[in-house]
Amino acid sequence: MVEALFVSTIILWIMVVFLSVLVFALTRQVGILHERVAPAGALQPTTGPKVGEITKDIQTNSLQGETITIGGANKENLASLILFISPTCPVCKTLVPTAKSLAKSENNRLSLAFGSDGEDIEQHKTYIKDLKIETYPYFVSQSVGMYYQVSKLPFAVLIGSDGTLKSKGLVNTREHLESLIESMDTGVATVQEYVSTQLDSVDSKYETSAVEQTS
Protein backbone atom coordinates (compact mmCIF):
# COMPACT_ATOMS: atom_id res chain seq x y z
CA MET A 1 0.00 0.00 0.00
CA VAL A 2 2.76 2.45 1.02
CA GLU A 3 4.74 1.43 -2.04
CA ALA A 4 1.74 2.13 -4.29
CA LEU A 5 1.30 5.58 -2.74
CA PHE A 6 5.01 6.26 -3.19
CA VAL A 7 4.89 5.34 -6.87
CA SER A 8 1.67 7.25 -7.51
CA THR A 9 3.13 10.38 -5.83
CA ILE A 10 6.18 10.24 -8.06
CA ILE A 11 4.05 9.75 -11.17
CA LEU A 12 1.77 12.62 -10.15
CA TRP A 13 4.73 14.94 -9.51
CA ILE A 14 6.21 14.13 -12.90
CA MET A 15 2.87 14.92 -14.51
CA VAL A 16 2.58 18.21 -12.56
CA VAL A 17 6.04 19.30 -13.76
CA PHE A 18 5.24 18.22 -17.30
CA LEU A 19 1.96 20.18 -17.27
CA SER A 20 3.62 23.27 -15.72
CA VAL A 21 6.23 23.26 -18.47
CA LEU A 22 3.49 22.77 -21.04
CA VAL A 23 1.42 25.70 -19.67
CA PHE A 24 4.47 27.94 -19.63
CA ALA A 25 5.39 26.93 -23.19
CA LEU A 26 1.86 27.69 -24.37
CA THR A 27 1.73 31.11 -22.68
CA ARG A 28 5.18 31.91 -24.07
CA GLN A 29 4.06 30.94 -27.57
CA VAL A 30 1.05 33.25 -27.26
CA GLY A 31 3.42 35.99 -26.05
CA ILE A 32 5.76 35.46 -29.03
CA LEU A 33 2.77 35.65 -31.38
CA HIS A 34 1.82 39.01 -29.84
CA GLU A 35 5.37 40.26 -30.30
CA ARG A 36 5.97 38.94 -33.78
CA VAL A 37 2.67 39.51 -35.57
CA ALA A 38 3.05 42.89 -37.21
CA PRO A 39 0.04 45.19 -37.27
CA ALA A 40 -2.07 44.73 -40.38
CA GLY A 41 -3.66 47.69 -42.06
CA ALA A 42 -5.92 48.43 -44.97
CA LEU A 43 -4.21 48.31 -48.36
CA GLN A 44 -4.19 51.89 -49.52
CA PRO A 45 -4.34 52.66 -53.25
CA THR A 46 -2.34 55.57 -54.62
CA THR A 47 -5.12 56.79 -56.91
CA GLY A 48 -8.06 58.96 -55.88
CA PRO A 49 -8.10 61.68 -53.22
CA LYS A 50 -5.13 61.62 -50.86
CA VAL A 51 -5.32 61.22 -47.08
CA GLY A 52 -5.53 64.67 -45.51
CA GLU A 53 -7.28 66.24 -48.51
CA ILE A 54 -10.69 67.87 -48.19
CA THR A 55 -13.21 65.61 -49.88
CA LYS A 56 -15.80 66.83 -52.34
CA ASP A 57 -19.37 66.60 -51.06
CA ILE A 58 -21.44 64.45 -53.40
CA GLN A 59 -25.21 64.29 -53.04
CA THR A 60 -26.87 60.99 -53.70
CA ASN A 61 -30.03 59.10 -52.81
CA SER A 62 -30.03 56.15 -50.48
CA LEU A 63 -32.15 53.11 -51.30
CA GLN A 64 -34.10 53.92 -48.13
CA GLY A 65 -35.33 57.04 -49.98
CA GLU A 66 -33.30 59.76 -48.27
CA THR A 67 -30.97 62.30 -49.81
CA ILE A 68 -27.53 61.90 -48.30
CA THR A 69 -24.25 63.75 -48.70
CA ILE A 70 -21.05 61.78 -49.03
CA GLY A 71 -17.91 63.75 -48.18
CA GLY A 72 -17.51 67.34 -47.06
CA ALA A 73 -18.01 68.67 -43.53
CA ASN A 74 -20.54 66.80 -41.40
CA LYS A 75 -23.25 68.90 -39.74
CA GLU A 76 -23.61 66.50 -36.82
CA ASN A 77 -19.85 66.61 -36.18
CA LEU A 78 -19.49 62.90 -36.90
CA ALA A 79 -16.83 61.15 -38.92
CA SER A 80 -18.22 59.03 -41.76
CA LEU A 81 -17.20 55.50 -42.53
CA ILE A 82 -18.27 54.52 -46.02
CA LEU A 83 -18.00 50.83 -46.77
CA PHE A 84 -18.25 49.92 -50.44
CA ILE A 85 -19.75 46.47 -50.85
CA SER A 86 -21.53 44.46 -53.49
CA PRO A 87 -23.98 41.53 -53.56
CA THR A 88 -21.47 39.68 -55.76
CA CYS A 89 -18.58 40.05 -53.30
CA PRO A 90 -18.36 37.12 -50.81
CA VAL A 91 -15.90 38.83 -48.42
CA CYS A 92 -18.23 41.85 -48.10
CA LYS A 93 -20.90 39.68 -46.48
CA THR A 94 -18.55 38.61 -43.70
CA LEU A 95 -17.24 42.14 -43.13
CA VAL A 96 -20.61 43.88 -42.78
CA PRO A 97 -21.35 42.59 -39.21
CA THR A 98 -17.86 43.76 -38.21
CA ALA A 99 -18.49 47.21 -39.63
CA LYS A 100 -21.83 47.34 -37.79
CA SER A 101 -20.28 46.40 -34.44
CA LEU A 102 -17.47 48.90 -34.99
CA ALA A 103 -19.98 51.65 -35.80
CA LYS A 104 -22.02 50.71 -32.72
CA SER A 105 -19.05 50.96 -30.37
CA GLU A 106 -17.93 54.26 -31.94
CA ASN A 107 -21.44 55.69 -32.41
CA ASN A 108 -20.64 58.89 -30.50
CA ARG A 109 -18.22 60.00 -33.21
CA LEU A 110 -18.81 57.87 -36.27
CA SER A 111 -21.62 57.27 -38.72
CA LEU A 112 -21.68 54.31 -41.06
CA ALA A 113 -23.01 54.18 -44.62
CA PHE A 114 -22.80 51.52 -47.30
CA GLY A 115 -22.07 52.21 -50.93
CA SER A 116 -22.40 50.02 -53.99
CA ASP A 117 -22.63 49.97 -57.73
CA GLY A 118 -24.80 48.12 -60.24
CA GLU A 119 -28.10 48.48 -62.00
CA ASP A 120 -30.21 45.75 -60.42
CA ILE A 121 -31.77 47.81 -57.59
CA GLU A 122 -34.02 44.92 -56.48
CA GLN A 123 -30.93 42.77 -55.90
CA HIS A 124 -29.49 45.52 -53.68
CA LYS A 125 -32.74 45.79 -51.72
CA THR A 126 -32.72 42.02 -51.04
CA TYR A 127 -29.06 42.32 -50.08
CA ILE A 128 -29.89 45.06 -47.53
CA LYS A 129 -32.57 42.83 -46.03
CA ASP A 130 -30.27 39.78 -45.93
CA LEU A 131 -27.52 41.68 -44.16
CA LYS A 132 -29.99 43.45 -41.81
CA ILE A 133 -28.54 46.89 -42.59
CA GLU A 134 -31.85 48.67 -43.17
CA THR A 135 -31.01 51.26 -40.49
CA TYR A 136 -27.82 52.38 -42.27
CA PRO A 137 -27.89 54.52 -45.44
CA TYR A 138 -27.18 52.35 -48.50
CA PHE A 139 -26.55 54.12 -51.77
CA VAL A 140 -25.86 52.91 -55.28
CA SER A 141 -23.71 55.50 -57.00
CA GLN A 142 -21.12 55.22 -59.72
CA SER A 143 -19.93 58.82 -59.25
CA VAL A 144 -18.97 58.28 -55.57
CA GLY A 145 -17.11 55.07 -56.47
CA MET A 146 -15.33 56.88 -59.33
CA TYR A 147 -14.37 59.81 -57.09
CA TYR A 148 -12.76 57.55 -54.47
CA GLN A 149 -11.32 55.26 -57.17
CA VAL A 150 -12.89 52.15 -55.69
CA SER A 151 -11.42 49.34 -57.78
CA LYS A 152 -11.60 46.35 -55.41
CA LEU A 153 -14.17 45.40 -52.78
CA PRO A 154 -14.70 45.62 -49.86
CA PHE A 155 -13.27 49.13 -49.83
CA ALA A 156 -13.65 51.58 -46.95
CA VAL A 157 -13.27 55.34 -46.76
CA LEU A 158 -13.10 57.25 -43.50
CA ILE A 159 -13.94 60.94 -43.71
CA GLY A 160 -13.42 63.20 -40.69
CA SER A 161 -16.20 65.46 -39.41
CA ASP A 162 -14.43 68.43 -41.05
CA GLY A 163 -14.52 66.72 -44.44
CA THR A 164 -10.87 65.68 -44.65
CA LEU A 165 -10.09 62.19 -45.84
CA LYS A 166 -8.72 60.43 -42.77
CA SER A 167 -8.01 57.04 -44.27
CA LYS A 168 -9.07 54.68 -47.03
CA GLY A 169 -8.24 51.27 -48.39
CA LEU A 170 -9.11 47.73 -49.27
CA VAL A 171 -10.42 46.07 -46.10
CA ASN A 172 -10.73 42.33 -45.70
CA THR A 173 -10.73 41.84 -41.93
CA ARG A 174 -11.77 43.51 -38.68
CA GLU A 175 -8.14 44.50 -38.16
CA HIS A 176 -8.07 46.32 -41.50
CA LEU A 177 -11.26 48.21 -40.63
CA GLU A 178 -9.96 49.10 -37.17
CA SER A 179 -6.73 50.34 -38.74
CA LEU A 180 -8.74 53.10 -40.45
CA ILE A 181 -10.02 54.38 -37.09
CA GLU A 182 -6.56 53.95 -35.58
CA SER A 183 -5.18 55.99 -38.45
CA MET A 184 -7.72 58.76 -37.72
CA ASP A 185 -6.83 58.74 -34.00
CA THR A 186 -3.08 58.69 -34.43
CA GLY A 187 -2.80 60.80 -37.57
CA VAL A 188 -0.58 58.14 -39.14
CA ALA A 189 -1.92 57.38 -42.61
CA THR A 190 -0.67 53.81 -43.12
CA VAL A 191 0.82 50.91 -41.20
CA GLN A 192 3.94 51.23 -43.37
CA GLU A 193 4.33 54.82 -42.18
CA TYR A 194 3.80 53.71 -38.56
CA VAL A 195 6.38 50.90 -38.84
CA SER A 196 8.94 53.21 -40.46
CA THR A 197 8.50 55.84 -37.71
CA GLN A 198 8.88 53.11 -35.08
CA LEU A 199 12.05 51.84 -36.78
CA ASP A 200 13.38 55.40 -37.00
CA SER A 201 12.79 55.94 -33.27
CA VAL A 202 14.50 52.61 -32.45
CA ASP A 203 17.43 53.55 -34.71
CA SER A 204 17.81 56.96 -33.07
CA LYS A 205 17.61 55.33 -29.62
CA TYR A 206 20.41 52.91 -30.54
CA GLU A 207 22.46 55.75 -32.03
CA THR A 208 22.04 57.76 -28.82
CA SER A 209 23.05 54.82 -26.63
CA ALA A 210 26.03 54.10 -28.92
CA VAL A 211 27.15 57.73 -28.58
CA GLU A 212 26.74 57.48 -24.79
CA GLN A 213 28.81 54.32 -24.68
CA THR A 214 31.62 55.64 -26.86
CA SER A 215 31.84 59.04 -25.17
Binding site: V21, F24, H34, I181
Partner: protein
Protein backbone atom coordinates in the same frame (compact mmCIF):
# COMPACT_ATOMS: atom_id res chain seq x y z
CA UNK B 1 0.73 24.16 12.17
CA UNK B 2 2.01 23.35 8.73
CA UNK B 3 3.93 20.41 7.42
CA UNK B 4 7.74 20.93 7.37
CA UNK B 5 7.93 19.80 3.72
CA UNK B 6 5.53 22.60 2.71
CA UNK B 7 7.38 25.10 4.86
CA UNK B 8 10.72 24.12 3.31
CA UNK B 9 9.24 24.34 -0.18
CA UNK B 10 7.83 27.84 0.52
CA UNK B 11 11.11 28.98 2.11
CA UNK B 12 13.32 27.85 -0.77
CA UNK B 13 10.87 29.27 -3.36
CA UNK B 14 10.84 32.70 -1.66
CA UNK B 15 14.59 32.56 -1.17
CA UNK B 16 15.12 32.00 -4.90
CA UNK B 17 12.55 34.66 -5.80
CA UNK B 18 14.18 37.34 -3.66
CA UNK B 19 17.78 36.34 -4.43
CA UNK B 20 17.25 36.37 -8.20
CA UNK B 21 15.05 39.51 -8.00
CA UNK B 22 17.53 41.38 -5.79
CA UNK B 23 20.54 40.39 -7.93
CA UNK B 24 18.70 41.49 -11.07
CA UNK B 25 17.75 44.83 -9.56
CA UNK B 26 21.31 45.54 -8.42
CA UNK B 27 22.99 44.35 -11.62
CA UNK B 28 20.65 46.51 -13.74
CA UNK B 29 20.70 49.35 -11.23
CA UNK B 30 20.28 52.25 -13.68
CA UNK B 31 17.33 50.69 -15.51
CA UNK B 32 15.70 49.77 -12.20
CA UNK B 33 16.27 53.31 -10.90
CA UNK B 34 14.48 54.59 -14.01
CA UNK B 35 11.58 52.18 -13.38
CA UNK B 36 11.30 53.28 -9.72
CA UNK B 37 11.28 56.96 -10.74
CA UNK B 38 8.44 56.24 -13.21
CA UNK B 39 6.29 55.08 -10.30
CA UNK B 40 6.35 58.73 -9.10
CA UNK B 41 5.71 57.80 -5.47
CA UNK B 42 9.08 59.01 -4.20
CA UNK B 43 10.85 62.38 -4.33
CA UNK B 44 13.32 62.32 -7.24
CA UNK B 45 16.32 62.70 -4.91
CA UNK B 46 15.52 59.51 -2.99
CA UNK B 47 14.97 57.28 -6.04
CA UNK B 48 18.61 56.15 -6.44
CA UNK B 49 18.98 55.36 -2.75
CA UNK B 50 15.64 53.56 -2.65
CA UNK B 51 16.42 51.49 -5.79
CA UNK B 52 19.63 50.18 -4.20
CA UNK B 53 17.77 49.72 -0.91
CA UNK B 54 15.14 47.50 -2.56
CA UNK B 55 17.82 45.35 -4.21
CA UNK B 56 19.75 44.92 -0.98
CA UNK B 57 16.59 44.23 1.04
CA UNK B 58 15.57 41.52 -1.43
CA UNK B 59 19.03 39.93 -1.20
CA UNK B 60 18.84 40.06 2.60
CA UNK B 61 15.37 38.45 2.54
CA UNK B 62 16.58 35.83 0.05
CA UNK B 63 19.31 34.76 2.47
CA UNK B 64 16.94 35.05 5.45
CA UNK B 65 14.42 32.63 3.91
CA UNK B 66 17.09 29.92 3.91
CA UNK B 67 16.94 29.95 7.72
CA UNK B 68 13.65 28.18 8.27
CA UNK B 69 12.89 29.29 11.79
CA UNK B 70 13.04 33.08 11.47
CA UNK B 71 9.51 34.48 11.72
CA UNK B 72 10.78 38.00 11.05
CA UNK B 73 11.74 37.16 7.45
CA UNK B 74 8.23 36.14 6.28
CA UNK B 75 6.79 39.23 8.01
CA UNK B 76 9.37 41.53 6.39
CA UNK B 77 8.75 39.85 3.01
CA UNK B 78 5.02 40.45 3.37
CA UNK B 79 5.77 44.08 4.26
CA UNK B 80 8.00 44.57 1.20
CA UNK B 81 5.42 42.93 -1.07
CA UNK B 82 2.70 45.13 0.51
CA UNK B 83 4.76 48.24 -0.34
CA UNK B 84 4.89 47.01 -3.97
CA UNK B 85 1.11 46.44 -3.92
CA UNK B 86 0.53 49.98 -2.58
CA UNK B 87 2.86 51.56 -5.18
CA UNK B 88 1.19 49.62 -8.00
CA UNK B 89 -2.32 50.42 -6.71
CA UNK B 90 -1.56 54.16 -6.48
CA UNK B 91 -0.39 54.19 -10.10
CA UNK B 92 -3.33 52.08 -11.26
CA UNK B 93 -5.67 54.52 -9.47
CA UNK B 94 -3.99 57.41 -11.30
CA UNK B 95 -4.47 55.57 -14.59
CA UNK B 96 -0.73 55.13 -15.12
CA UNK B 97 -0.99 51.44 -15.98
CA UNK B 98 1.38 51.84 -18.95
CA UNK B 99 4.55 52.00 -16.85
CA UNK B 100 6.82 48.99 -16.43
CA UNK B 101 6.31 47.18 -13.11
CA UNK B 102 10.00 46.27 -12.79
CA UNK B 103 9.02 42.87 -11.46
CA UNK B 104 9.69 40.72 -14.49
CA UNK B 105 13.23 39.39 -14.65
CA UNK B 106 13.55 40.03 -18.39
CA UNK B 107 11.98 43.48 -18.21
CA UNK B 108 14.99 45.61 -17.46
CA UNK B 109 17.62 43.43 -19.06
CA UNK B 110 17.81 45.80 -22.00
CA UNK B 111 15.15 44.13 -24.11
CA UNK B 112 12.12 46.36 -23.76
CA UNK B 113 9.76 44.47 -26.05
CA UNK B 114 10.46 41.04 -24.66
CA UNK B 115 9.13 40.73 -21.13
CA UNK B 116 8.06 44.28 -20.42
CA UNK B 117 5.30 43.85 -17.85
CA UNK B 118 3.02 46.79 -17.27
CA UNK B 119 0.94 47.46 -14.18
CA UNK B 120 -2.36 45.61 -13.88
CA UNK B 121 -4.82 44.39 -11.29
CA UNK B 122 -3.56 40.89 -12.08
CA UNK B 123 -0.18 41.96 -10.75
CA UNK B 124 -1.79 43.18 -7.52
CA UNK B 125 -3.58 39.81 -7.16
CA UNK B 126 -0.31 37.96 -7.83
CA UNK B 127 1.43 39.94 -5.09
CA UNK B 128 -1.48 39.38 -2.69
CA UNK B 129 -1.13 35.63 -3.30
CA UNK B 130 2.60 35.89 -2.55
CA UNK B 131 1.86 37.81 0.66
CA UNK B 132 -0.61 35.15 1.83
CA UNK B 133 1.86 32.34 1.06
CA UNK B 134 4.68 34.24 2.81
CA UNK B 135 2.53 34.72 5.93
CA UNK B 136 1.74 30.99 5.95
CA UNK B 137 5.39 30.39 6.80
CA UNK B 138 4.96 32.32 10.07
CA UNK B 139 2.95 29.43 11.50
CA UNK B 140 5.05 26.86 13.37
CA UNK B 141 5.65 23.60 11.58
CA UNK B 142 4.90 20.12 12.89
CA UNK B 143 7.86 18.06 13.99
CA UNK B 144 8.39 15.37 11.41
CA UNK B 145 11.59 14.05 9.97
CA UNK B 146 11.77 14.63 6.24
CA UNK B 147 12.32 11.51 4.17
CA UNK B 148 13.60 10.87 0.70
CA UNK B 149 10.15 11.30 -0.84
CA UNK B 150 9.78 14.68 0.92
CA UNK B 151 13.03 15.96 -0.60
CA UNK B 152 11.95 14.64 -3.98
CA UNK B 153 8.59 16.43 -3.59
CA UNK B 154 10.32 19.68 -2.57
CA UNK B 155 12.68 19.53 -5.55
CA UNK B 156 9.98 18.72 -8.09
CA UNK B 157 7.61 21.17 -6.40
CA UNK B 158 10.17 23.94 -6.86
CA UNK B 159 10.47 23.21 -10.57
CA UNK B 160 6.66 23.29 -10.88
CA UNK B 161 6.42 26.57 -8.94
CA UNK B 162 9.10 28.11 -11.17
CA UNK B 163 7.22 27.27 -14.36
CA UNK B 164 3.83 28.27 -12.94
CA UNK B 165 5.31 31.61 -11.81
CA UNK B 166 6.85 32.18 -15.25
CA UNK B 167 3.56 31.22 -16.92
CA UNK B 168 1.64 33.67 -14.66
CA UNK B 169 4.03 36.49 -15.57
CA UNK B 170 3.74 35.62 -19.25
CA UNK B 171 -0.07 35.59 -19.00
CA UNK B 172 0.01 39.05 -17.39
CA UNK B 173 2.22 40.30 -20.26
CA UNK B 174 -0.13 38.74 -22.82
CA UNK B 175 -3.06 40.44 -21.06
CA UNK B 176 -1.27 43.78 -21.50
CA UNK B 177 -0.97 43.12 -25.23
CA UNK B 178 -4.65 42.16 -25.50
CA UNK B 179 -5.71 45.22 -23.49
CA UNK B 180 -4.03 47.44 -26.06
CA UNK B 181 -6.46 46.22 -28.72
CA UNK B 182 -9.42 48.34 -29.70
CA UNK B 183 -12.55 47.44 -27.76
CA UNK B 184 -15.38 46.56 -30.11
CA UNK B 185 -18.71 45.29 -28.88
CA UNK B 186 -20.13 42.18 -30.52
Amino acid sequence: MIDPAIQTLVSIAFSLLFLIGGAHKLSNRLQFQQIVSEYKVLPSRGVGFFAIGIGLTELFLGVGWLFNHLTLVPLLSALVLSIYVIAISINLYKGRSYIDCGCSFAAFAGNKDNGNQRLSTGLVLRNFTLIIVALMAVFPSTTRDLGLLDYFSIFIGLISILFIYLATNQLLSNRNAIDSWRKVSG
